[in-house]
Assembly symmetry: C2
Homo-oligomer: 206 residues x 2
């Protein structure tokens, strides 16, 4: 497994090794064109190589895509986890969820092409690849499940919400932003505030 990308969007900007450059190039092409249109030739070209050179670093196209997806999912989870950890001890669950919403949107839309690649392509992978990426995704969902469970325990969750459905609807709203958001139509802070407001009011008792 490679060292984590730098964490500025541009994980593609100043890659050190050729291997990392290939991973970044793959994330970039996956984000822009989707799994079906992602050719090894395109990846190699973005990385400044010819296709056969890829095989010096990865045993197959599948290995390359799998690593990008795993890294991307891990980046999302780590970024959200770190943001929560940075909150003062005793921060309430409402603010914690708003922090998670912001962190998810930032990593997905601004900080990492790897994260975008995961969101846009996880559902399109062939079964074997999807299986290989699943564990990281499960861990991320567990993070949200814990947040909602905490809210429920404290009696803050609105009644009539199925916890699992509510969690998936919220994550879905956030993930779908990768399909439509562009900085030219609405600034990211506007989106973040709207998402925080929508999620808070939707989940919590007034």
């Amino acid at each position: 497994m490679s060292p984590a990308p730098t964490g500025t969007r541009n994980d593609t900007a100043r890659p050190t090794t050729t291997r990392d450059r290939l991973l970044s190039a793959t994330a970039q092409v996956l984000s822009a064109k989707g799994y079906s249109e992602t050719r090894l030739t395109d990846i190699a070209e973005v990385a400044g190589l010819r296709a056969p050179a890829v095989y010096h670093y990865f045993s197959s196209r599948e290995e390359l895509v799998a690593e990008v997806m795993t890294v991307g999912q891990r980046l999302v989870r780590e970024h959200v986890t770190d943001a929560l950890a940075a909150l003062p001890a005793g921060t309430g669950v409402v603010e914690r969820i708003e922090t998670a919403v912001e962190a998810h949107l930032l990593i997905e839309l601004q900080l990492s092409e790897f994260a975008t690649a995961v969101t846009r392509n996880a559902g399109q992978l062939p079964d074997d690849l999807r299986d290989r990426v699943r564990d990281e995704g499960t861990a991320y969902h567990a993070l949200w499940r814990d947040l909602l469970e905490q809210a429920r325990t404290e009696g803050l969750l609105r009644t009539g919400l199925d916890p699992r459905a509510a969690r998936m609807l919220v994550i879905g709203a956030l993930n779908w932003t990768a399909e439509w958001w562009s900085p030219r139509q609405s600034p990211l802070p506007v989106l973040v505030r709207t998402a925080q407001s929508l999620v808070s009011a939707g989940l919590f008792e007034p």
Copy 2:
């Protein structure tokens, strides 16, 4: 353009013509495997034919996929429009939006494989195909924009929400259900009620 599919999931159940059977088969394969893994051979097999027979009805794979996507997007819009039209005159905007939420989820998850195909694959299409499907999608978003604009005009919309971002987050939450929902994990009515509750509380003043 073919006659609309029957509107029970399955549009694939009792198709009359071979052409309709091909469209249904395409919707089914697209929903299950995604655009990248949808082969003409798979489609033909589901329809009970060999691949070359497809060319008797469609000039290319692209034509076939394009028609499925257009039909699917139209079905979603018509189903939601019809559900709204069936409400008594003077029904308030809150209930109208809850009706739209339910109609969207029903057509997408239960009534039409065509609708699922659109939601899961619209973002993965090559550019030329995406352009051809765009108009129907725009019309559907206009429907939601009008609903939210009506809420805003009546002073029901919570402050701090960007209308466009809020609309896309809501539609995104609904669309993403196609990626995760299965009837075995939570019954559809549970999902519908949770989504209605989340959206209503998220959008409207208490």
